[in-house]
Amino acid sequence: MGPLHRILILFAHPALEKSRLNKIFLKAVQNLSGVTVHDLYEQYPSFHINIAQEQALLLTHDIIVFQHPIYWYSSPAILKEWQDLVLEHGFAYGKGGTALQGKKFLSAVTTGGGATAYSLDGLNRFTLRQFLLPFEQTAYLCGMDYLPPYVTFGTHQMQAPPTLQAQAQSYRQAIMALRDNRVHWDRLRQTAYFNEDLTQVIYGEATETDA
């Protein structure tokens, strides 16, 4: 049985060699069938984004994932550049801009600070969902279905490799569930973050074993 949803992961990390979490997250989803991992910094080291190619990629996928670390309450630079260039008027929004309508959008982000830092009375004074509002609104304008973001808080505190590996496994489970349509969509919509409690929003086992 083929995948129900084809997933495009737009990955942005300018210094992957220094990453601890995103690197293994990437590895965890890299060879899944039905999942295309698109490493933007690897593809466009000079930021010269090939718009036609990117748009073609969007058209052939059902779920678009922005996977990146949070830099200054937003994404690394190339992902913003990507949005500015690829989500063109007439393609993604505006008159005739219906190419992305009905597709699902997911932010999969990591933060250095812990969950408490991202609360109204915490250091960052806003919740992470609030910081992600530009992405939510972008998805809305493009007619996309914005899913609660998949957030891994507190990466600065994570030291032990087993913890990192367990986190990567959860992420892999979530991506596979999205792909196989094993998600309680109603329950998901009621949560603030996709991975608040994965057992509540996804069910069943992966139907195929992937390398």
């Binding site: 000079s46 010269h48 260039l85 008159k95």
Partner: protein
């Protein structure tokens, strides 16, 4: 007549080699065994094509051993030698000591005087550098733990010959007795020249030795550099080969004159020259001579095996051969356990070195001259040593067939990475193009082997502390010596288009696994490279011209970021067209038509500033479609800006 004799000899030797070595190779026996059998066949006990003359050839062929030690020296940077000091002194020293003691005690047991016992022990402790290195190299085992350990032991032995030569005369029993030489006479290449040694008082002798070795080191360090450079400027390859041979022969003569082993002298010279940038060239120039002469040497060893002694006294000789192999093998195996070699590696180490060596021939004749031993003792031992040498390749084959598979199953192949010129990147040509590539790589910790054939250039680079090797990259043997077999990338940055293509074709044929990155001198050359299947091509002036174009656009008022982006667009387009046109180049008319069309396309693309190029590069930043939509209908709330 004499000439004809020489040619006839050469005819016999070369013929025997040409016939038997390929057969031995085909049968999986290795070249050494092939040479030895060729020698036995043409020798006095085979077809009797060479008789006593064989000895002359043996002396000449021993020069092959001398050359081999020169090449071994070239492989060894002093730093590596220092790193190997523990196995060299520990393994090598204990091996010589252990074997000598065991053999000497056996000698005492059968009633020999202690002096003779000790002499025999010391001489039998030597193993055959020539046979072991050649055989292990052929199997590709030189870099294994066992190979490196064997190498260390052989190195120690080659050096130990000198003090042993000094020690042996002290062991003389009857100073008046004048022994006659038996089967192998004093050899001019491996041996000491007794005349000088006898005629000089010891302190003068010592002084002479120090001066000679010191001279070799100093000359190698300071004199050879300008000489090689001068020779290299002539551009005559055969002159370089001649210089290399001249060097080795000169050292050999000098060492003979002071009564030292030429093998040691050339070894020292090799080590001195190991850091030299002409090293790879020297290696490749001498290699064929070494191979041929070593082959001759093996043939002569085969031809000089005295089978009459074997037939007269088969049991004595056989027990000597087996006893020698057992004693040496056991000593080596015990050492391999002490030095914690893996079991399989320890066995290989013991099998490989359990024979007598070529130095034993020399040392035995030396002991005869100095009345240390009598021919009654040396004659059977010389035959036993020759046989044990001939048996070594057989033992190794046995190891490969029955022992090796067991250990291979038990443990993964672990290759000690000691001799370390196997850099992942080779840059051929280190001129204005190659330098920039190389500097970027080196600055990022990538180990790079650089080849260049401009002597003045190399000299300059060396003054800035670069490690550069002299050599013509068009020679596949030189590339091989530079480690292309293990490299991942070959960057061809030379400025001769034809030569670049030549290298590419040769490398693709012999080393298809390596990724080639090539510098194209012009568009036509780029076509050739694309057609040759090179994936990564950089046109030498393209990038910098483009950069200048970008600056020009900026100076004319274009914003920097836009200038950069139009240049990138131009580059992408041009590269696409380049690859397309590479395969049209045969058809001139088609090519010209396409070329015109391309120019029009590009002009259109670049001139139509407001439409085409804007569409290509920054449509999304252009709000005109939003204005247009706004005119059509009342603007929606929905705008992202």
């Amino acid at each position: 007549m004499h000439n004809q004799d020489f040619f006839f000899q050469a005819f016999i030797y070369l013929g025997a080699a040409v016939i038997s070595v390929p057969i031995a190779k085909r049968l999986g026996l290795g070249s050494v065994l092939g040479y030895l059998m060729a020698g036995i066949l043409i020798g006095p006990f085979g077809f009797h094509l060479v008789g006593q003359n064989g000895e002359d050839v043996l002396h000449f062929a021993e020069f092959g051993v001398v050359m081999m030690l020169f090449l071994v020296g070239l492989e060894l940077q002093p730093a590596l030698l220092w790193r190997l000091r523990v196995p060299i002194l520990g393994l090598g020293g204990l091996q010589v000591l252990g074997t000598s003691l065991v053999v000497a005690s056996l000698g005492l047991l059968i009633g020999l005087p202690w002096q003779s016992s000790l002499a025999v022990g010391l001489i039998l402790a030597m193993s055959s550098t020539a046979i072991v290195l050649q055989t292990l190299n052929e199997k590709g085992w030189m870099k294994t733990e066992a190979g490196q350990s064997a190498f260390s032991v052989l190195l120690f032995q080659d050096i130990a010959v000198i003090p042993i030569l000094a020690l042996l005369p002290l062991l003389a029993i009857t100073p008046t007795h004048q022994a006659r030489l038996v089967s192998s006479t004093a050899s001019p290449w491996l041996n000491v020249a007794q005349t000088t040694q006898a005629s000089l008082p010891p302190w003068q002798q010592t002084l002479l030795v120090i001066v000679t070795v010191g001279g070799i080191i100093l000359a190698g360090r300071f004199l050879m550099q300008p000489v090689f450079r001068f020779i290299a400027t002539t551009g005559l390859r055969e002159l370089f080969t001649a210089t290399a041979l001249f060097l080795v022969i000169a050292i050999t003569l000098a060492m003979n004159a002071v009564g030292l082993s030429p093998a040691l002298g050339t070894f020292v010279a090799g080590v001195v020259l190991a850091e030299n940038e002409y090293r790879h060239e020297l290696e490749t120039d001498i290699e064929p001579f070494k191979g041929l002469l070593l082959g001759l040497f093996f043939i002569s060893v085969g031809a000089s095996i005295d089978f009459s002694l074997l037939f007269q006294n088969p049991w004595l000789i056989l027990s000597l051969v087996i006893g020698l192999a057992l004693i040496k093998g056991l000593v080596l195996f015990v050492l391999s356990r002490i030095f914690r070699l893996e079991l399989g590696q320890g066995l290989l180490f013991s099998f490989a070195l359990a024979q007598g060596g070529e130095f034993a021939f020399v040392l035995f004749s030396f002991t005869l001259q100095n009345n240390v031993l009598t021919s009654a003792i040396t004659a059977p031992l010389v035959v036993a040593i020759a046989l044990s040498m001939a048996l070594t390749p057989v033992l190794i084959i046995g190891y490969e067939q029955w022992v090796y598979p067991r250990f291979r199953l038990l443990q993964p192949d672990r290759e000690a990475d000691l001799i370390d010129e196997d850099n992942p990147v080779i840059i051929a040509g280190f001129g204005r193009f190659g330098q920039i590539v190389g500097r970027l790589l080196i600055a990022n910790g990538v180990r790079v082997t650089i080849l260049d054939h401009d002597p003045s250039h190399i000299d300059l680079l060396r003054r800035f502390g670069w490690k550069v090797f002299y050599g013509d990259a068009a020679r596949i043997d030189l590339l091989r010596a530079a480690g292309i077999g293990h490299a991942r990338l070959l960057i061809i940055a030379i400025d001769e288009p034809e030569k670049t293509l030549g290298i590419i074709h040769a490398v693709q044929k012999y080393f298809p696994q390596i990724q080639i990155l090539a510098r194209a001198t012009n568009r036509q050359h780029a076509y050739d490279l694309i057609r040759a299947g090179v994936q990564v091509i950089e046109r030498e002036t393209f990038g910098s011209s483009l950069a200048m174009g970008v600056t020009a656009l900026q100076l004319l008022g274009m914003r920097a970021y836009k200038a950069q982006r139009v240049a990138q667009t131009f580059k992408d387009h041009d590269e696409q067209v380049l690859r397309e046109m590479a395969f049209m180049a045969g058809d001139k008319i088609q090519l010209m038509a396409r070329s015109r069309q391309m120019n029009e396309e590009l002009a259109q693309l670049l001139q139509s500033d407001d439409q085409e190029i804007a569409h290509l590069i920054d449509h999304a930043w252009d709000a005109s479609s939003l204005y247009a939509e706004g005119k059509d209908e009342s603007p929606r709330e929905a705008t992202p800006g």
